[in-house]
Symmetry: C2
Subunit: 329 residues, 2 copies
């Protein structure tokens, strides 16, 4: 009976309807969700797992989602990238503090046209990877999602789910549009944007909420409930916007009203502990380097000192058990 | 026997060798220490007590001090200022969050030449009191002391102990010099300084260490042990110095090397939880108003925005269970 069931499912590797082979490095709250969505839509997705390998190999992935719970009972799970097929698109969904691993993890997955999509937060991720792999086509992905890993092979999707992607060094932009189209067919709202602008825009939310929920040991709703902390969040957002505009001079501009938009969005959002708060509470190193240190540095280089953002960076470095982990490759 | 012992001690009120009658409002880590030192030197000191009244009336005050433990077995203790004699000098050693009480507490202690010495931290304390008592002679006191109240009638004196005093509205400055001389005779290193300058100089230490030990849940020695938090402390100190110099334009200047002096002093200091940390840990309201809000406001009025100090103020207001207690009279 069990054999019969297995026979109805094609053996990996197979080509999905999008004709693209996907690899997922980091099958957690982000990689697990997007990978499962793609696989659920019939795409050919291969997941690298670490501590959850045995569990997921046997039980698959479960997503309890505001958009409807779903399961992926059979998962192309791997313990090592050496066992995975070459991929057309690799979704890097590691914590950026682990990006040092990419030097070893990526090579087995690459063919001459592979696109590595770094679905991580912060600035400078692609530049650091490009230094190690000068010929690689790199894109960045910005996940607008509230999701947490709640157990082995279990992901809770609380709110949102969109993905903005942008080229860092893709030779063929139409390929990226094609990837976005596949994501959309898999019920992931994806669009292709200017990467540098998209990364700075994402920081407008990430900088205040990630850091302040850690430093003040709280959640987004409590921060929004007090005028003084909402005021501080606005200050931090405006610093990021001014920093971005100084860096993007002539190339892009973020309007200051974007801060109001982000505040309003957060006010109506499900109370949430951002990923950095979960990392801190679980004694994992904090993603300070790309979310705080690099943006502060880039804005300062362009002539604008983001003082409050810098202070948050300094406070987080003090609290980081990893001793302000640099996370460079 | 007990009666015999009592007969050898003069009954309150009496005049001490300095010929000055002292009142102490707030018999805690600061008021208890300085009042006990004065009384120990034979000065005529009258203590207002609240929750500790019964205990101190019966058992006196005990000070375990780095300069030698001492006891004051018999204390002029009162439950109400209405029962206290008129005083020549009143030491106000309340938490500044309780300064609203002074409106009721002070009048019974005042004669026409009374000097009220506000031994509290921050800016604007004297101005607020003067508004309520326009004719009162007011001075300020800056305690350079590490001391904690460790129990009923028990004070631990860990380090330092000096007191800088300055006139806010004293009509006769020689009277203040006389008070300083009495303090010195009582083994309290006291000197008379420019009050506004002295208050800003004290803030150079108080602003970073009080706030950061609360926000980062730590002690002074841990903050000094990490280059990144020491860097933040230096940033905060330099902001306070620049704020002070902007406010004091033409009247006073603090050299930036004063930050190094304070850092060096703290590096060699006994590990310490500043008073705001103890208040926070004991769920008492925080002295944010005079230590943070007023200095930020005064510097901004003078044209310098102390951004990191302001951020610390915002963070403390969020954490303050008293909801950013204003503490105005």
């Amino acid at each position: 009976m069990a054999n019969n069931v297995n026979k109805t499912v094609p053996s990996p590797p197979f080509r999905g309807p999008g004709g693209i082979v996907y690899g997922v490095i980091g099958t957690g709250a982000i990689g697990g969700y997007y990978g499962a969505k793609l696989a659920c839509a019939g795409e050919d997705v291969h997941f690298l797992l670490h501590s959850d390998y045995e569990y997921v190999k046997e039980h698959g992935l479960k997503v309890s989602s505001v958009r409807g719970d779903f399961e992926l009972p059979r998962v192309n799970a791997y313990r090592s990238t050496a066992d995975m097929p070459a991929c057309d698109v690799v979704l890097v969904c590691l914590k950026s503090t682990s990006n040092g691993l990419l030097r070893e993890l990526l090579p087995p997955l690459l063919h001459k046209d592979t696109i590595v999509l770094m679905i991580q937060n912060g600035l400078g991720l692609e530049a650091d990877l490009q230094e190690v792999f000068p010929e690689l086509q790199i894109a960045g992905g910005l996940a607008f999602i509230c999701s947490n890993k709640t157990g082995s092979g279990e992901i809770a999707h609380l709110d949102y789910g969109g993905l903005n992607i942008g080229s860092y060094s893709c030779r063929d932009l139409s390929r990226l549009e094609e990837v976005a189209a596949v994501f959309n067919r898999a019920d992931i709202r994806a669009k292709v944007l200017d990467l540098e602008l998209a990364r700075w825009m994402k920081l407008v939310w990430n900088v205040p909420y990630n850091g302040l929920t850690v430093v003040l040991n709280t959640t987004t709703d409590h921060l929004m409930a007090h005028p003084v902390s909402e005021g501080l969040i606005r200050d931090l957002m405006l610093e990021v916007i001014r920093g971005a505009n100084q860096v993007g001079k002539g190339r892009f501009t973020i309007g200051e009203e974007y801060a109001d938009k982000m505040l309003e969005m957060t006010r109506t959002m499900t109370p949430y502990s951002p990923s950095m708060k979960l990392d801190y509470d679980n004694h994992r190193p904090l993603e300070i380097s790309y979310i705080y240190t690099r943006p502060v540095h880039e804005a300062a280089e362009a002539g604008f000192v983001m003082k409050k953002v810098q202070m948050l960076q300094q406070q987080l470095c003090f609290l980081d058990k990893g001793g302000c982990h640099i996370g460079k490759l």
